[in-house]
């Protein structure tokens, strides 16, 4: 995803001398064609993402309950006060942060291991890659049901072996752990694929030279591979963090948000679709949007030029 910006800046020296040399008529045609080719994509994204996000800011400033459609009125920031002083909201935010941080960190470790296995294995590379794509591709709801039944006492194998017949999904902390487990299972292969692309950039000669100089496997990994892979690691972390932050499907199927296990997406959905409260729902939408923007901003600040979207720090 990061390369698009990179591409653009990198291409610049390419076409421009040619364009300068070309007739202005040809350049005009090129501009027109460029805009024309992008127009449908721009129109769809503007209409289905751009306009609605502005509209949701507007909705968030109103008292707008679809159960009482004649009582719509502009209330300024009242909804924000209501949401931000609500303990359910903060509980959901807390749960979301815990799920995000724990699952992304474990995925990073497991994903790195899986990437190394996929990259270096001597036997059966095709089988390993094929099977690890299954968690990535499988419908999240399907995987979530598989986990749910596995942990259901009586029906499931895990409930008996691991939990000793206890209903783990009806208690807050075990339920959150099961949700994290389901997240990790589903998305580790994706993490591994992103990291594997970084691994492919590590020159073999460099590793051999390090080995000659007496570096052991761990030193080679930390001192040689990780620095080269840094951009790939950052992209993978950013993607997975933002993705984990919007967790919904797994929670919906596994706990339904009961016992205080709702994520922010879940609580927004409940207010909006079940509670039909457009004002509060939109306020939560805007707050989640801001939270995601902050996360992205922190990543880019923290990692500076190596962050996705910048043109330095790769190749």
């Amino acid at each position: 995803m990061s390369h698009a910006l990179t591409t653009e800046t990198k291409e610049k020296p390419g076409p421009s001398p040619k364009a300068k040399a070309a007739l202005s008529e040809g350049k005009k045609a090129e501009r027109r064609l460029g805009l024309l080719l992008c127009a449908p994509a721009i129109l769809v994204m503007a209409a289905v993402a751009g306009w609605p996000i502005i509209y949701s800011v507007w909705l968030s400033l109103q008292r707008f309950d679809l159960k009482f459609p004649d009582r719509v009125e502009f209330v300024g920031l009242d909804n924000y006060v209501t949401v931000l002083s609500n303990s359910y909201w903060w509980n959901a935010m807390w749960i979301t942060i815990v799920i995000t941080v724990v699952s992304v960190l474990i995925e990073l470790v497991l994903g790195m291991a899986l990437a190394l296995i996929m990259h270096r294995t001597l036997v059966g590379r095709g089988i390993v890659r094929t099977s690890s794509l299954i968690p990535y591709g499988i419908v999240t709801v399907v995987a979530a049901f598989s986990w749910r039944y596995a942990w259901t006492p009586g029906t499931g194998y895990l409930a008996e072996i691991v939990a000793g017949g206890e209903p783990v999904l009806t208690e807050k902390i075990p339920a959150v752990m099961v949700v994290i487990l389901a997240e990790i299972w589903k998305t580790t292969p994706f993490m591994a694929l992103l990291l594997m692309a970084g691994l492919a950039l590590v020159p073999d000669d460099l590793l051999k030279a390090a080995a000659m100089d007496g570096a052991n496997a761990w030193q080679r990994f930390i001192k040689v591979m990780v620095p080269v892979m840094k951009p790939a690691i950052l992209v993978a972390l950013l993607f997975r963090t933002l993705d984990a932050f919007r967790i919904f499907d797994n929670l919906f199927v596994l706990t339904g948000g009961s016992q205080g296990t709702s994520s922010v997406s879940m609580i927004t959905y409940n207010n909006l679709i079940k509670g039909l409260n457009l004002g509060i729902g939109s306020t939560m939408s805007v707050l989640i949007f801001i939270a995601v923007a902050i996360i992205a901003f922190i990543f880019i600040k923290l990692f500076g030029t190596a962050a996705p979207g910048s043109d330095n720090g790769r190749r």
């Binding site: 591409t7 064609l33 296995i117 919007r246 499907d249 997406s265």
Partner: protein, 281 residues
């Protein structure tokens, strides 16, 4: 790593084999479990055994006899195919322009795509819910196809522009020398070369649409446009005393089949698409 003895090679092979088996088991366990559930008979469904004691096709027969599931399957296939087709066509056009042409607003388009890719989908649910209800798009196919295209476009644009950079562009120049316009050069020369990349992107986009749950559960309300993941979560069994586990498992297996087929036949392409689209800068 040079000069490894024969015995050591065997040892390393054995170690890799063990690791590989671990990975395969990790990946397949939950899938095999849901498959196993779907083949269990009513009496043995709740016995907690990993392998069915009694095999039956009853669960499959049951779901295919309900309109609830069949209609959802038709919706899922139709909506995902249409959204994929449109997203890939629009994405191809935009990616070509971004990779090859110089025009104002290019930076802006790339920035916006990046933004949408990182966008929390839930933030769009409330405005879209209201907008679609007032436009009559709520609970219709276009009502789902539109958001799918929107969120698939960044994916399509990034993956495709990565593939487009690998294409030998001298051929395009040659075509232009021979008098082709940029448009003709695109259609006649580049499009056929780009086909494998386009196909890979189509698979990734299809998986994305096929997978979606949040839009599908929020922007539909009836069998009209409800997709399988949503229908699954609403399965209740034919009477209120009946446990829907078997039906859910069978339906889950049915919608996993296309994913398994993609992965089996296009493993290389999917890996190439995901990795090139994401990191190689």
């Amino acid at each position: 790593m040079a000069g490894v003895g024969g015995a050591e090679t065997t040892g390393r092979k054995a170690r890799w084999t063990v690791l590989n088996i671990l990975v395969v088991v990790y990946a397949l366990f939950p899938v095999l479990w849901i498959v196993s559930l779907s083949f269990k008979s009513k009496a043995t469904l709740a016995d907690g055994n990993f392998i069915p004691r009694e095999w039956t096709l009853d669960n499959y027969a049951a779901i295919f006899s309900t309109t609830e599931f069949v209609r959802a399957l038709v919706n899922s296939i139709g909506i995902a195919l249409i959204a994929t087709a449109i997203a890939v066509v629009f994405g191809t056009m935009a990616a070509y322009a971004i990779a090859r042409l110089d025009f104002p607003g290019k930076r802006f388009l790339v920035g916006v795509s990046l933004l949408i890719a990182m966008f929390p989908q839930i933030s769009l649910i409330s405005p879209l819910f209201q907008i679609e209800r007032s436009l009559g798009l709520f609970d219709t196919w276009p009502g789902l196809i539109l958001p799918y295209i929107t969120f698939a476009l960044p994916l399509a644009i990034y993956t495709l522009s990565a593939f487009f950079r690998e294409i030998p562009w001298e051929l395009e120049k040659a075509a232009k020398m021979d008098g082709a316009t940029p448009g003709q050069a695109f259609r006649r020369v580049i499009a056929p070369l780009a086909a494998p990349g386009v196909f890979t992107t189509a698979i990734l986009v299809f998986i994305f649409c096929w997978n979606d749950f949040l839009f599908a559960i929020s922007l539909t309300s009836t069998e009209n446009s409800r997709t399988v993941p949503v229908a699954l979560s609403f399965f209740t069994g034919s009477s209120q005393f009946e446990d829907p586990t078997g039906s859910i498992a069978a339906a889950a297996v049915v919608i996993t089949i296309p994913i398994i087929l993609f992965v089996l036949f296009f493993q290389r392409r999917i890996v190439a698409g995901l990795t090139s689209g994401a990191v190689k800068g």
